[in-house]
């Protein structure tokens, strides 16, 4: 038997094992890591088609939902990962493929979120008379998801047209500035006309109805609580949108546009000489990235029920950038891996560390190593790993740039190029 068939045989078994573990211990959140690892392995190693797709479909459609109904934090985690994965994929087009450093990417997320939040809550009554608002979740939420895509893409074009004429480093500063402008506008557009409700934010935002999920599960003889149905719904929605975005990304990567973006990234002047219209191609990259961010913004606002400028800071943009860099600029699997790793780090690992330290502090645990003795009750309350995201993201970015600039999963094009270079040296 060749290697691919052995792998194809083992892969579903490993999948079953990891999902089984998660089912037996659904409250041990960290068991999500092997499951996610299996998903990534499925996209990277050589497998027979049936082995790959059936295993991955099993994890996503049965494995995680069943465990999630036991422990809804798993749903929450996966929804967060999905949202960030879509954002990372969007930014990956701009930064990774086209080589345009965008430091204000969270602005498009904000535009998507506010698009639905303003009209899906009583907020719009402030400036449109008649008390038509909030719009009901069905069918308007789905309509506004599409609208969020269009609005974000349009703003992307509007910002891109002037900004993308600039050289790389200036572009970074200008996008950073424009990102801040969007946040400051969201913060201050509660006067003279109250559009965004300022720093207080907008709440409650309507959610699309989930009666149909309850109806289906009733048919199947399951009784589901409404909050479980809502979690299941958002899990499914995020999954569908994320998969669609992955698919679009894959198609774009190999398309005429994808090749043009990479050409611009590698050498602008050479690309122009080959007849690639620079500005138009760059603006297209910007708008595509913005569109992905916009649709996830709308979903985010409905999921959170609440939108405020606090969610769209520079730190948010940098978080997404750190995901793209960790995974590998220009690589789709890289963006997904980066999103999963950073999100897990952010909302699971660091939080557990903080809680652990807090526990040691409160119980006054004494560490005694013979030569050194330390009482944790003396530990400063400032030392909370969960609050030091900036330090961690900064470190990720610097270390990756110095030691592995192509990321954990380098883009295939780049990898081929590196291998060719190495072979060339050897001969």
């Amino acid at each position: 038997m060749n290697r691919a068939s052995v792998q194809s045989f083992l892969y579903p078994l490993l999948t079953l094992a990891s999902v089984g573990l998660l089912w037996i211990f659904p409250d041990t959140t960290i068991l999500l890591v092997p499951v996610l690892g299996i998903l990534f392995a499925g996209t990277l190693i050589r497998l027979h088609r049936w082995s790959r797709w059936s295993s991955m479909a099993f994890v996503l459609l049965i494995g995680i939902p069943v465990a999630g109904l036991e422990n809804s934090f798993l749903f929450e985690l996966f929804i967060q990962i999905g949202i960030y994965a879509a954002l990372a994929l969007g930014l990956n087009i701009v930064v990774g493929m086209a080589g345009l450093l965008d430091l204000g990417y969270a602005a498009f997320f904000a535009i998507g979120a506010y698009t639905w939040a303003i009209f899906g809550s009583p907020q719009a009554n402030q400036f449109i008379e008649g008390g038509h608002f909030p719009l009901p979740g069905w069918p308007y939420f789905y309509l506004f998801m599409a609208l969020a895509v269009i609005t974000a893409a349009l703003v992307g074009v509007l910002i891109g047209l002037p900004a993308l004429r600039l050289r790389g480093d200036y572009l970074a500063i200008v996008t950073l500035g424009l990102g801040e402008v969007v946040r400051v506008l969201a913060n201050n557009l509660d006067h003279p006309v109250n559009i965004t409700n300022g720093p207080k934010g907008i709440s409650p935002v309507e959610r699309p109805p989930v009666d149909w999920i309850l109806a289906i599960t009733d048919r199947l003889g399951l009784t589901l609580q409404t909050n479980h149905a809502v979690a299941l719904f958002f899990y499914g929605l995020v999954l569908v949108v994320m998969l669609a975005i992955v698919l679009i990304n894959r198609r774009l990567d190999r398309s005429r546009f994808g090749r043009a973006w990479v050409a611009i990234r590698e050498d602008e002047i050479a690309a122009r000489s080959m007849g690639i219209p620079l500005l138009r191609t760059k603006v297209l990259a910007f708008a595509t990235g913005a569109a992905f961010s916009g649709v996830m913004g709308a979903i985010f606002s409905a999921k959170q029920l609440f939108v405020s400028p606090e969610s769209f800071t520079l730190l948010q943009s940098i978080t997404i950038l750190a995901m793209v860099i960790l995974g590998g600029m220009g690589s789709i699997q890289g963006a997904l891996l980066g999103a999963a790793a950073v999100t897990l780090l952010n909302i699971e690992v660091l939080k557990s560390l903080s809680e652990g330290l807090n526990h040691l502090r409160q119980t006054g645990f004494v560490l005694d190593l013979g030569f050194i003795e330390y009482n944790f009750a003396n530990l400063s309350s400032q030392l909370e790993p969960a609050k030091y995201e900036r330090m961690i993201f900064g470190l990720i970015m610097v270390l990756m740039m110095i030691f592995r600039p192509a990321g954990l999963i380098p883009e295939t094009r780049h990898k081929l190029e590196l291998e060719a270079r190495r072979k060339g040296k050897a001969s």
Partner: protein, 321 residues
């Protein structure tokens, strides 16, 4: 415009000059590093912040020993200058130099490194201050002698600390001018900025010149940090961001890479910002107020980059193959 608004104009111009001189000193750090490396050193805003924080610590620990606030201020300025300069050199050694040695194909690499350092330093200072004092929002202590208000002609008022800011800025700029134009080190810096390879053939070691340029830029940033802290009293690990962006705008305004450009750019930006922040609410009936003050700098930057990216004093560059 009615008379009252016009009468207050000289005071506002003076205020703009104060802000502008702080921007100018930070802008010099951006512009000098850009000159020798062609890199926007995003981490410079944190070098500035570290200067401001060092100043607070000096005030905190030396106030019981030194009575005279002016001596205290001088000690704080010098210490902050050296600490910030050392920080800048460390950044260069640990992050930028390994990148230069290795060489990179993707031109985003140094830029992303710089942003990473900037974020890392914000939280590092926050962690140190948090562990040391249990909090990281700090205030410069007020001294009656520094806050004393002088009355100038045209109904202008100026606090002593404002006067000190202007004097220190002028001294620093004069010193820098002397250093760059009249010393061997200055000549070497100019040579590396013009062409690092040729300079190295003439017996200049670019690495050591780059490190010294970082030190000088960092020193100026640290001094600006103390002055900023004394003027506005509140300092925290994140206070470098906004002044940093504005100083960068100032550097671009004057033409990035140009030393006199950075000085004049700083002063012009300070004027535009204070004048705009003060008069805009009157012209727009309060719809656009001081809450947009920080956006103002960005808008100027964007407009500037679109219309005249080479700045007021810079020369236009064409990409060559």
């Amino acid at each position: 415009m009615d008379g009252a608004l016009l009468e207050i104009l000289p005071s506002i111009i003076l205020e703009g000059l104060l802000v502008g001189s702080v921007y100018a000193m930070i802008a010099l750090g951006y512009t000098m590093v850009y000159g020798v490396l062609g890199l926007i050193n995003f981490a410079h805003s944190e070098v500035f912040m570290i200067g401001a924080v060092t100043g607070v610590e000096v005030f905190r620990y030396l106030s019981p020993h030194i009575e005279n606030p002016f001596t205290l201020l001088v000690v704080a300025i010098v210490t902050a200058g050296f600490v910030s300069g050392a920080t800048a050199v460390t950044i260069e050694r640990l992050a930028y130099r390994p990148l230069r040695r290795r060489g990179y194909t993707n031109r985003l690499v140094p830029l992303i490194t710089a942003i990473g350092i900037s974020f890392f330093l914000q939280d590092l200072v926050r962690l140190i201050e948090g562990l040391w004092h249990g909090e990281f929002y700090m205030n410069y202590p007020s001294h009656a002698e520094l806050e004393h208000t002088l009355v100038l002609p045209l109904d202008m008022t100026l606090q002593v600390k404002g006067l000190i800011t202007i004097v220190v800025t002028l001294l620093m700029l004069a010193g820098l001018w002397f250093l760059v134009k009249r010393t061997r080190l200055g000549k070497a810096i100019r040579a590396v900025a013009q062409d690092a390879t040729t300079a190295s053939l003439m017996g200049v070691n670019p690495d050591s010149i780059i490190a010294r340029t970082f030190f000088i830029g960092g020193f100026l940033g640290g001094v600006a940090g103390v002055l900023f802290g004394v003027l506005y009293t509140q300092v925290n690990p994140f206070c470098g961001f906004i002044p940093g962006i504005k100083a960068f705008t100032a550097a671009v305004l004057g033409g990035i890479g140009s030393i006199p450009g950075a000085m004049i750019g700083g002063v012009i930006l300070g004027q535009l910002e204070t004048l705009g922040g003060f008069y805009l609410p009157f012209f727009t009936n309060g719809a656009v107020g001081t809450e947009y003050k920080d956006v103002f700098g960005f808008v100027i930057l964007v407009l500037l980059l679109l219309c005249r990216p080479q700045g007021i004093f810079g020369k236009a560059q064409k990409d060559k193959v």
